[in-house]
Each structure stands twice: as C-alpha cells, then as structure tokens.
C-alpha cells in the first residue's frame, strides 16, 4: 500500500513516467481496491500459485495448513463482505439502468459500467495522476506541519502552566471556526493558492492533534512523573523520555482524527479555490458534465484517505510496541 505513495508524491516529473510504470501503478491501485473490498483475497490467489514442495515435509506443510485454516476461518467474513458490496453495486446498477426517480433522482447518475470505462481511460491520463499526487503533497505538507506544531505546542501547553495561560485562550477562540470558513481569509493571507490550500489542510488537522496531545499530557499517570523526578530526570528528559511516550496513545488518536479532518478540509479547499488536486478534479468533472469522473474522484479520495489512515496506524503500531504486549497481558 505504502509503496505507491512516494511515486504519487512526485508531481514534477509526470512526463517521464513510462507506460509500464502507469500500468504498474494501475495494477497496484486495483489490488488495493480489491484488498480493501475483500480482505484476504491477495493471499488467496498467491497461495495456490506457490509450487508444492513434497520433499521438505515437516516445515512448510503446517504453515500452509495454517494459512488454509486461516482462510477458511476468514471465509464467512469475506463472503458477507462480498455480498454487502455486491448488493450495493447491484442497487447502483439497477437504479441507474431504470433511472429511478423517487425524490432522489438517478437520472444523471453514471452507471457502474460507465464509471469503469472512464476509469480505464483515466488510468492512461498523466493529468489524473498529477491531480492525485498534488493532493497527496498538500496532505503531506499540511498534515506534517500540523503534526510537528500540534505535538510540540501540545506538550508545552500541557506541561507548563505559563505557556498554557499565554497560548491556550487564542486557540480556544480559533478552534470552533471550521477550517473551510478560513478559505477567503486564507486566500488573502497567503501569497499563492497553493500555500493557502496547504494552510487550510494544516488548520483542519492542527486542532485535533493539539487538543489530543494536551489531553495526553494531562492524563499521564503522576506516579510515573514522580518516579522519573526521583530518579534524577531533568525537565527536558522528563518531557522527552516520560511525558512524550506516555502521551503517544492519545497523540495517535489525535493524528487519526486530524488526518480525517485534513482530507475534509483539503477537498473542500480544492473544490472552492483550487487548481489541480483530486477535489478540484471531482468538481471540474461536474462542471464539464463528465459525471462518471465524479464517482471516480470520490472513490479515489476514499481510497487515498483510507491509505493515509492505514499509514498512521502502521506508524503508531511501530512506535508503540508495548501496547501490543499490554493487550496480550490483559487477555
């Protein structure tokens, strides 16, 4: 999943991309969608493909049995997921085929077939990948800056009363203003459209990250702080080695929420003031009466958002290995 992003993050050299590259990106994307739809299908197809090795009996056999057993156990879940998605697509298909019109109107809604056809065409369009890459870059910058600032300020505000007294009132006043409400002001504030969109994305994710970090610092077990102080920890060691790691679970909750809000803000900003970006693509499709592309834009936004949340979960699990052992101990 993650290996796809770096390529997408290089919007400067889209021309250099060979057709082979594109089909690869396409395939990985298709796999990703398939994997999202049916967890386990990727392993399902690879398992029989690996040649059996009858000579080495003991080791691989139980492993394969284990895999088979695992697939068997996952089968009911996979079937119900397939059924659920199948029903959705079937409803979509029939609703658009018979142009259902009962208060909500399916007259102009593209059918699954049209969407698929357009997707095939778009998969050859450099412009389309550029739009994805630009959106991802905005997320990376906006969310990245929000992460650094949100965690740093959150730690300071949570830990030091004077910092809290100085900064928190400002944030309390600004926080209830949705990031999207900043769009006109942001356009005036920042020198370019690009920076203002990144700013909107930043604003969306900054407050969830900040507030959750503060909450994390406030809920650190005081016994741990006392133990660290007794053991001779200086203020900075206390902050780095105790307060920060102790707050990490809350911080990652903030990051997960922040990532969601970042996408909401980004898409809105791109639709309102944007040039380029997947949100702009989706809105432009409406203006150009390319209705099938609207659905494609929506699906891609969903998939990218899902991938970003997944990346945060992965990083979180890697940074907090002790949580897994705690969960194990509670069983």
């Amino acid at each position: 999943m993650l290996t796809v992003h770096p390529r997408l993050l290089e919007p400067d050299d889209p021309v250099e991309r060979t057709p082979v590259d594109r089909t690869q990106a396409d395939r990985t994307q298709a796999e990703r969608i398939a994997a999202a739809a049916l967890p386990g299908t990727a392993t399902d197809t690879t398992a029989p493909a690996s040649p059996p090795e009858p000579v080495v009996v003991a080791a691989p056999l139980p492993a394969r049995q284990g895999l088979g057993a695992r697939l068997l156990a996952a089968l009911p879940g996979m079937l119900s997921a397939a059924l659920s998605l199948g029903l959705f697509v079937a409803f979509w298909y029939f609703a658009t085929k018979y142009k259902l019109d009962f208060y909500i109107r399916f007259n102009n809604i593209p059918s699954p077939g049209e969407v698929w056809q357009n997707a095939v065409i778009l998969s050859d369009s450099v412009r389309f990948y550029e739009n994805m890459a630009i959106s991802m870059r905005r997320i990376l910058f906006g969310f990245g800056i929000a992460t650094v600032l949100g965690i740093a300020l959150g730690l300071l505000i949570g830990q030091y009363r004077p910092v809290r007294a100085l900064l928190f009132p400002v944030f309390e006043v600004l926080r209830p203003i949705p990031a999207i409400a900043w769009v006109p002001m942001a356009i005036m504030l920042w020198p370019s459209n690009e920076t203002s969109i990144v700013f909107i994305t930043f604003l969306g994710s900054f407050f969830p990250i900040l507030l959750n970090t503060i909450h994390g610092v406030n809920s650190v077990d005081p016994v741990l702080v006392r133990a660290a102080r007794c053991l001779g920890a200086s203020e900075s060691a206390l902050l780095r080695q105790v307060i920060l790691p102790a707050s990490l679970p809350h911080i990652f909750t903030g990051l997960a929420i922040g990532m969601g809000v970042a996408w909401v803000s980004l898409i809105a900003a791109e639709m309102i003031s944007g040039q380029y970006g997947i949100g702009y693509f989706t809105w432009e499709a409406y203006s150009l009466i390319e209705y099938a592309d609207i659905a494609i834009g929506m699906i891609v936004i969903g998939v990218l958002g899902l991938a970003c949340s997944g990346a945060i979960r992965l990083v979180g699990n890697a940074l907090m290995p002790w949580l897994a052992s705690q969960r194990g101990a509670e069983k």
Binding site: D221, V223, L224, R226, A227, A228, R229, C230, L231, G232, A233, S234, A237, Q241, V242, P245, A246, L248, M320, P321, W322, S325, Q326, G328, A329
Partner: protein, 285 residues
C-alpha cells in the same frame, strides 16, 4: 559505590546482626525536624501531619505503620522531596531536601514502571539520568540482583505483579541511593507472593548499606522486616510510638513464631486499634 555492590558476592559477611550493620554504614541518615503538612480542603485548612520529629540512623530499616489516612504516605512524600512541608524541614545526611533529589528513590505500590520501556531500560533510566558511563551494564547488574536478568527485553506488562515490583526495586537501587523509600510496595500482591517478596527484599537489602523507609499497614510485615517501627497517630498524623524490633538478622519467616515477635505484635495491635477506633468513631458520627 562499587563497594556496596560487590558485597553481594559475599552476602554472608553483611548478614550480621542489625546493630552491627547499622554501625557499618554511614550514608542515609534522615532527620525530620518539626515537619507539619496542611492541605486546603474546601477552603478550610486541614492538618494532615502535626509536627513530627524523627531521626533515622544510616542503614536502618524503619517501617511507618498505621491505619489508612494516618499521614504515613504524606510523611514519606515529604522525605522524598515530592511534597513541601508547611513547616519544618528534612535533611538526608547533610543535604536539606526541598525537591526530589536522587538521594532517595521510591518504590510505589504498583504500576510505576514506564510501560513503554523494556525492563532493562526501566532500570537503566536512573543511571542514565545521573550520567553513569554504562547505564545498561549497571541495569543488568541490578536485574540479576533481583533475579530477573532473563526478562530484560520484555515490557513491564508482560511480567507478573511480583516481578514488576522486583524490577521497581532494581530500578530504585540502580542509582545507589542512600535512602530507599517504599510506599506499600507489596500492597497489591497476593499473600503468597508478598511473603516471598519480603524474604527477597531482606536478601537484597543485606547487600546494600541503604536506609529503608517502608510504609505499610500490615503489622506482621512491619515486624518481620524492620529494625524499628514507627506507629502513626491519626487525625492529624503524627508519631504515636516508636517500637524497636530486637530480633537478630538474618531473619526467616520462622521468627514469626518467636515469643519476641508475638509480644511486639500484641503491643502494635493495641496501639493501632486505638487509632483505628478513633477514625471509626469519628466517621460514624
């Protein structure tokens, strides 16, 4: 410092009678001078600790005993520097205690290990803060002292409660503090583990010339472990009586059947009963 540790290879030598051992060590004398603590509760001043005077010789094992709410933990917090007394002062050797200083480390009741650090890193934390050249090596030494060197790379949550407390003891000792403060360290353990931990603690302590302040409400535990028991008075907390425990060391659980033990036990029970009744009746009203 190194001498203190190397003693563990010849534990027999240090397991002499308590009075001899007291004379041997010269660090960790505690002087509590007219310490009182007042809290504000609902705008009213509430006295948690009436003026307390207490001297603990270097290397002694002293228990604070009393019913809950007698201020024994408050007094411990003042000695550790985590709580500033309203009046009076505390000195460890010649150093006045006004904030947490590495002269005394605390073993808390439970869950005081850093859950995100592996066992070895927990123990190495103190040495690392104090600029020990080889914090990991020191940590390993102390882990093997409490018999947990095999579990160095596990996280605290993967250990049993008793093992976690042994790690906590190793962590507290790893900076060679002259004073070890223990706040009901075995209070959350089951009875069997608790007994074993008490024996274990005595063995470990025999290798260190460390003063131990041990807060508990378990009478047998206090007598079994201590050179001296400070029975606390309640509401406000203060020292009711200091009782010597003239039972020679090394001690085994067998001493609990001795005549001296029962005599001290009866005396302590009487004292505590008076105090508990006082609280009981005042809350009844």
């Amino acid at each position: 410092m190194i001498e203190a540790l190397s003693k563990k290879e010849i534990p027999e030598a240090s397991m002499t009678q308590s009075t001899d051992r007291l004379r041997q060590s010269n660090r960790g004398a505690i002087h509590v001078d007219k310490v009182s603590v007042e809290f504000k509760r609902n705008g009213q001043a509430f006295s948690a600790l009436a003026p307390v005077d207490l001297n603990v010789e270097a290397g002694a094992f002293v228990s604070f005993l009393g019913p809950s709410g007698c201020g024994k933990t408050t007094l411990l917090n003042v000695i550790s520097g985590m709580l500033r007394p309203t009046t009076g002062s505390v000195q460890i050797d010649d150093t006045p205690v006004t904030r947490p200083i590495p002269l005394c480390n605390v073993v808390f009741q439970q869950h005081s290990l850093f859950p995100w650090m592996k066992v070895i890193d927990n123990v190495a934390f103190g040495p690392q803060q104090l600029g020990d050249g080889d914090p990991e090596g020191t940590a390993r030494t102390f882990l093997s002292l409490v018999g947990l060197d095999k579990f160095a790379t596990l996280y605290p949550a993967q250990l049993s409660g008793g093992m976690q407390q042994r790690v906590a003891i190793a962590r507290a000792l790893a900076t060679y503090p002259p004073v070890l403060l223990m706040d009901e360290p075995f209070g959350a353990l089951d009875a069997q583990t608790r007994t074993i931990m008490q024996e274990e603690l005595l063995k470990i302590w025999a290798n260190f010339s460390t003063t131990v302040i041990f807060v508990t409400h378990d009478i047998d535990e206090a007598i079994y472990l201590s050179d001296r028991i400070v029975v606390m008075r309640t509401a406000p907390g203060s020292v009711k009586e200091v009782i010597d425990v003239p039972i020679p060391r090394p001690r085994t659980p067998k001493i609990m059947q001795s005549e001296v033990f029962s005599r001290i036990r009866l005396r302590v029970i009487d004292l505590i009963r008076e105090e508990t009744l006082k609280i009981f009746n005042s809350t009844e009203r």
